[in-house]
Amino acid sequence: MTTYTTIAEDTRPLHHPKTWIGKYVWSQDHKVIAIQYSLTAVGVGLVALVLSGLMRMQLAFPGMLEFITPDAYYQFVTMHGMIMVIYLLTALLLGGFGNYMIPLMIGARDMVFPFVNMLSYWVYLLSVIVLMASFFVPGGPTGAGWTLYPPQAITEGTPGAGWGIIMMLTSLAIFIVAFTMGGLNYVTTVLQARTKGMTLMRMPCTIWGIFVATILGLLAFPALFVAAIMMTLDNTIGTSFFMPAIISNNVALDHSGGSPILFQHLFWFFGHPEVYIVALPAFGIVSDLIATHARKNIFGYRMMVWAIIIIGALSFIVWAHHMYVSGMNPYFGFFFATSTLIIAVPTAIKVYNWVLTLWRGDIHLRVPMLFAIGFIFTFIHGGLTGLFLGNVSVDVPLSDTYFVIGHFHMVMGVSPIMVVFGAIYHWYPKITGRMWDTMLGQAHFWITFLGVYAIYLPMHYLGFLGVPRRYYEMGETAFVPESVHLANVGITIAALTVGAAQLIFFYNLIYSYFKGRKADPNPWGATSLEWLTPDTPPAHGNWGPDLPKVYRWAYDYSVPGAAQDFIPQTTPPGPDETPHDH
């Protein structure tokens, strides 16, 4: 290190790779790491998608696919849920979008700890490999459900109670190490590497969402980490952190005094914030998509930022709403029901503000905007059913039914995925320098959007009828009418259609990458910094010799009197604008 006054002006800390391997494999460039994260996440996400298709086959046509035994079904449920939540969504939104967007949107050359950032990806890849390896160990992957509740997760009779659960817990611990390395980078970069003029309140909502979500992740994942370690110890060396005295197959196990409820508290202390770890980046991104494609400033920017912060803080005091049926003290339930319903207030503010941004906007229904509007629908839908489940007395009969499956798929499955699709269409021209095909994009949107309603809306009805989740088959059950079977067939057809429709998306991305029209550097007329890079796609170091200087917020759209309907953040104040003087 030598003495220099400003690192920001200094390109030396950047590690300039010479070889192909240095550039694309052992890369320390945040953009390459982002792509690595995203491709890995999507790859493993496809496994989870296939598993969901297999589960749907079993539910609609019980016994048709002979390899789906009851054990296999549980394993599919578990792996599907865990992969979707952690290895796909968390990794994609923070490791993928976080990595790509943070330095570009705040005007930095890279993350502040590029080496740690690279390490973060490789450790993440290791966690994915360990997870996938669990399909091949004796006994197969764990079938304990993604919540991994002990004692059943580690007692005989649950699929994968031997090797599978160890692989899962190991993989989770590795993932958390990877996330922590990445997360420290994201927050430090946001706090310390913003370019001149980029105050906190001039950051685009995308960065706010990713920033707060990362803090949530940093504070929530340790709970899963200690829970994973303690359960591993219970399982391997026979401690009794979570294992009570228990008789399994007529044999008293060598455990006593542990508390399964303790595990549930630890799990959900992580698990609920996890919902917002995937939701907050989506909130942020969708705000920017809506503002850009409606050519309006985001309604109530400051309120939006505050809402993100407040939601993030509240998300740490609602975890036990997942445990209403665990036999806890009724006052405890009352407290958690109240805090849960309070979160609805800032959340509703955000929804109103999105709608108000659209109100009388100059709406361009391009594909990213379609997905953004689709998100508003699915999120309102999932949010409303969340209000049902937040109330103890309503939750008790609905708990562990398909109503819950419908709810959380809408709110944390489909909604963030809608935003992910919208975001990919939105930034693809910048990332690849090419345009995608509009027709294919629209087809992808409509099939997916209508399809997810066809999948999840009937599930709410099944839940009211009392159809339980995580059941291999219903068998002869008096309370289940014939219509349930019909609904299951319909849902499966819709699910397979939606799954297949994703091929359109991948085809579009891959084809356009090679054959697409060359993209304009700023095709949507957006204001934020990532669109103003000298190169498209941005080169290593992002900004050429000088960092951009920021003179305004990211939402100067349709400003009266301005020459264009957007003013980039790097445009100095015009003669009619009062500069900010002190």
């Binding site: 290190m1 006054t5 400003t6 690192i7 920001a8 002006e9 705040i106 930095a108 502040v112 700890f113 922590t180 420290l184 430090t188 706090l191 310390q192 590497a193 913003r194 001149k196 003029g197 980029m198 105050t199 309140m201 001039r202 940093l218 504070l219 929530a220 340790p222 200690v226 303690m230 110890l233 060396i237 026979g238 401690t239 009794s240 952190f241 009570p244 006593s256 005094g257 542990g258 508390s259 409820i261 303790l262 630890l266 202390f269 400033n297 400051r302 930022v305 505050w306 665990s326 806890m328 003290n329 405890f332 200087k549 920021v550 003179y551 305004r552 100095p572 009062t578 500069p579 900010h580």
Partner: protein, 235 residues
């Protein structure tokens, strides 16, 4: 508060910029970056250790709740409030562990290590690199002695047949010391880098970040250990 002032700004009205708008105003500052990263990590580790404390207290079960003894009942008040609301049935298998005396010595060594780090900061500030070499080396070596001492405690416990599955107190003891030791090892990695630079004749400015950030991290690990050791002692 600066943060609050930031967050109440009206960005839609404010065009142009002040010289102090955003840290980027004068570029990334090396020390600030490393320190920010370290403080966030301290946050992560604190959540982890706090949750272990919570788990520990909940797992105590009925221990000490002898209705005949008012003092004991008071001591278990923390447990009662936590456990009662969390719905965790009281276990009654808690057997306190006898803390080996060596733990006191280890604690002393760790305190010395922190003192050495603090003196290293002083040496750095006054630019006395010859002294810094000694204090830095001492800080790291003492930490290594601490770790060796902890391992010795493990070995004596195991030699006397006290393994982790033999009781919740022992299980927590092994868990806590292992996690704390791993954090120390992580710190020693950065100590190694900084010390190597100092021994190779680096300028004070070059190692300032390393020394200051490591020193604070060491103090943090000392606090964690004292809290954890105290918890072990009173139960």
């Amino acid at each position: 508060m600066k943060l609050l002032r930031e967050l109440t700004k009206k960005p839609w009205l404010e065009k142009g910029f002040d010289s102090d708008d955003g840290p980027g105003a004068d570029g990334i500052r090396g020390p600030a970056v490393a320190a920010t990263g370290m403080w966030f990590y301290v946050g992560v580790a604190s959540v982890m250790f706090s949750l272990i404390i919570a788990a520990y207290v909940l797992r105590l079960g009925n221990y000490g709740a002898d209705p005949a003894s008012a003092a004991a009942a008071k001591a278990s008040l923390a447990w009662w409030t936590l456990a009662a609301i969390c719905g965790i049935p009281p276990a009654d298998d808690w057997a306190p562990m006898a803390e080996p005396f060596l733990l006191w010595i280890n604690t002393g060594v760790l305190i010395l290590s922190s003192i050495a780090w603090q003196r290293a900061r002083g040496d750095l500030r006054s630019g006395r690199m010859d002294k810094l070499r000694i204090t830095l080396t001492a800080g790291g070596l003492l930490a290594l002695v601490f770790l060796a001492g902890q391992l010795t405690v493990w070995r004596t416990l195991m030699a006397s047949g006290q393994f982790a599955p033999d009781g919740p107190a022992l299980a927590f003891f092994y868990l806590i010391t292992a996690l704390h030791g791993l954090h120390m090892l992580g710190g020693l990695f950065f100590w190694g880098r900084t010390t190597a630079m100092v021994l190779n004749g680096a300028e004070p400015a070059e190692v300032a970040t390393g020394v200051n950030v490591c020193a604070i991290y060491w103090h943090y690990l000392l606090i964690v250990w004292v809290v954890m050791f105290g918890l072990l002692l009173i139960t």
